[in-house]
């Protein structure tokens, strides 16, 4: 396995996702009106870092900014004197209907969108992997029930299911913050493909020699599944995880776009698109850049998933 070359697609996908994740993780430092380095009353300070750790923002004429952040705007700073400005040197991606910097919002949106996508995918895996593993390994009635449940839930399109749950379970979920609520709902409505995939894998492996040998040695089901079957199923699980992250990011964006996900003023890629839709007749830039970001994220996830599949699963490889 070690000598197998990393497919270029996988490398590209990791690069794209890594860059997006880095932007998301570093958002409070990348897009902020606080300078990175400033001179305040004769002392060199780092206001951006200070604000990040709860310190005070810079103010007053005694401050001189020496090094600004790459995107020197706050995502929620409203500037009614600069409404819907096209991309310029000052605002690289223009401003939106409230004069907010689109790039700053895009950077901070990456943080929320990617975090929601990752958490939701993790939840989906947490539900889907054990369920699918159990069903596939046990077979029989358990498998029949779980498989039917997967089929039944899959029959309702994910977006509809998520919308229905968000709407009807509003009372239960009210205590959660927008982003957490969306992550939970997207995760709990997205486990089915994972479970189906893992089930198929475990079904295949349950008759393998490793399993018979482990059973002969007296291992119980749980140990066999965790210790001997799961390692062989790691490849498909990883592949599914990558696809699931991509799917979760898109569903979150769709929900926020439709008005039932993360609400304004919090920036996510979906809510940016929802805002942009209102001004679509007069300005293209608030819509095009978040759309491209989402597109990049999906391409990145797909490339990683397919690359992993090619790398880890020789059966799926084609010439």
């Amino acid at each position: 396995m070690a000598d197998r070359a990393v497919p270029p697609g996988l490398r590209g996908g990791i690069l794209i996702l890594g860059a997006l994740l880095a932007v998301g993780a570093g958002a409070p430092l990348i897009a902020t009106s606080q300078p990175w380095v400033a001179r305040e009353g004769g002392r060199l300070t780092a206001p951006a870092l200070r604000v990040l750790f709860g310190g005070r923002a810079v103010r007053g004429p005694e401050t001189r900014a020496l090094l600004a952040a790459p995107v020197a705007h706050d995502p929620n700073y409203i500037d009614l004197g600069a409404i819907l400005e096209p991309p310029s040197l000052r605002h690289w991606m223009g401003t939106d209907a409230l004069g907010r910097d689109v790039l700053a919002r895009l950077v901070h949106g990456a943080r929320v969108s990617l975090a929601v996508g990752l958490v939701a995918a993790a939840l989906a895996m947490l539900v889907g992997v054990p369920l699918g593993a159990f069903a596939g390994f046990r077979g029989g009635v358990v498998d029949a029930v779980v498989s039917r449940a997967i089929e039944a839930t899959l029959a309702v399109p994910v977006l509809l299911l998520a919308l229905a749950v968000l709407s009807s379970a509003a009372g239960w979920l009210a205590a959660l913050s927008d982003a957490t609520r969306v992550a939970v709902v997207v995760g709990l409505t997205g486990w089915m493909p994972v479970a189906r995939y893992v089930r198929a894998e475990f079904l295949k492996l349950r008759r393998s020699d490793v399993v018979s040998a482990a059973r002969a040695l007296g291992a119980n089901d749980l140990r066999i599944m965790g210790r001997y079957v799961l390692p062989s199923a790691v490849a498909p699980v990883l592949v599914t995880a990558a696809f699931t992250v991509g799917g979760a990011i898109v569903v979150e964006a769709a929900l926020s776009f439709l008005g039932l996900g993360v609400h304004p003023p919090t920036a996510t890629w979906g809510s940016l698109l929802a805002d942009a839709r209102e001004q679509i007749r007069s300005a293209w830039w608030p819509a095009v850049f978040p759309a491209l970001a989402l597109f990049l994220a999906t391409v990145g996830c797909n490339l990683v998933a397919e690359g992993l599949r090619d790398l880890l699963d020789p059966r799926a490889r084609r010439g």
């Binding site: 309702v156 379970a169 509003a170 008005g259 095009v288 597109f295």
Partner: protein
């Protein structure tokens, strides 16, 4: 997938073969029915997820707090005093009678609301499905004709990226390009004001112009997916024995490719069409809301935003049931068409 039991199966008489096929179909129908039942349980649990009871809902609407006796009476009326499984049974029977309840929003029966909008959404989806199949098959075949050539590579690259573009992003980009900047197509809606008086041809043309972008948005995802699928299936079958045999019989490469390759590819495509349905329905919600099309998708979103539970659940059930029926039907069609399965 190769089947090495092929020759043994041919030797079997036709009567047991038919019986076996019928048994496979019966099995599929049974499991489909069980799935359907589980689906209703799922939707019913969504009802129960909703906060409070219908009585609390009524109280929210400004009805005064009810005296305990009236409340108990009402609970009896709505069977809220019954155990959960009994409530489920009652709910299921009313669903089976075609009673989906009345909308919280405008007090009209859900079935009536669905009926008046069904045509729009069905038309939109049918057009989208037809277009994606009609375009995907030649596109995929063209790509598979010379695998690795530059047309194949460029088709592959384009469909790969198009498939990764979420439908609401694609819709906004198309609106910006074709409606705002080029001005070729209307931005949204289903008809221009005032065209109704301009004669039938003008009206029809106007309608079609309004449908172009929604249909494109609904179909491009499945078009990309299908064409890749067609290519892969044709390639898999290009070296199939029947195709080779046809070549050996002296048929030209194109005829052999089309006549035999496609025959084999038709079967998996049949199942795929059933699987594409959920994506289309999900896409309808987004596309109809972006393009202001008064269909079921728009109705679903409105119901979700207004917490109009009966409408929401009625549509969820409808989407789930129609998808399941589509999948089971395509599976049954599969077992009718596929000789390997017929012997299985």
């Amino acid at each position: 997938m190769a089947d090495d039991r092929g020759t043994a199966g041919v030797a079997l008489g036709s009567a047991p073969r038919v019986a076996r096929m019928l048994r496979a179909i019966a099995r599929r129908l049974t499991s489909g029915f069980l799935t359907l039942l589980l689906l209703t349980v799922l939707v019913f649990s969504l009802v129960k997820l909703a906060p409070g009871t219908p009585l609390a809902e009524a109280a929210d609407e400004g009805l005064a707090r009810l005296p305990p006796t009236t409340q108990a009476e009402l609970e009896r009326l709505y069977h809220l005093d019954q155990p959960l499984h009994w409530q489920y049974g009652l709910w299921l029977t009313s669903m089976l009678r075609g009673d989906l309840g009345t909308s919280f929003h405008d007090r009209r029966p859900v079935t009536a609301k669905i009926r008046e909008r069904l045509g729009t959404t069905l038309g939109l989806n049918a057009a989208a499905l037809a277009i994606s199949i009609l375009l995907a098959v030649p596109l995929g075949a063209f790509a598979a004709w010379r695998p690795g050539s530059w047309p194949d590579r460029s088709i592959g690259l384009v469909t790969y990226f198009v498939h990764a573009l979420p439908v609401f992003c694609g819709a906004l980009l198309l609106q910006i390009a074709f409606s705002v900047h080029l001005g070729w197509l209307p931005l949204a809606g289903i008809a221009t004001d005032g065209t109704a008086s301009g004669g039938t041809l003008a009206t029809a043309l106007d309608r079609i112009r309004h449908m172009v972008l929604p249909v494109v948005c609904l179909s491009y995802g499945s078009l990309a997916y299908l064409s890749r699928f067609v290519r892969a299936t044709l390639l898999e079958n290009a070296s199939a024995e029947s195709t080779l045999a046809a070549r050996a019989r002296g048929l030209g490469p194109v005829v052999a490719f089309v006549r035999h390759g496609f025959r084999l590819a038709a079967i998996p495509m049949l199942t795929l069409a059933g699987l594409l349905l959920p994506a289309l329905v999900g896409g309808s919600v987004i596309v109809e809301s972006i393009f202001a099309v008064p269909g079921l998708g728009r109705m679903f979103l409105d119901a979700a935003l207004q917490r109009d539970l009966p409408v929401l659940l009625g549509l969820t059930l409808l989407a789930g049931v129609s998808t399941l029926v589509g999948i089971v039907a395509s599976d049954v069609a599969y077992s009718l068409v596929d000789p390997r399965l017929r012997r299985g």
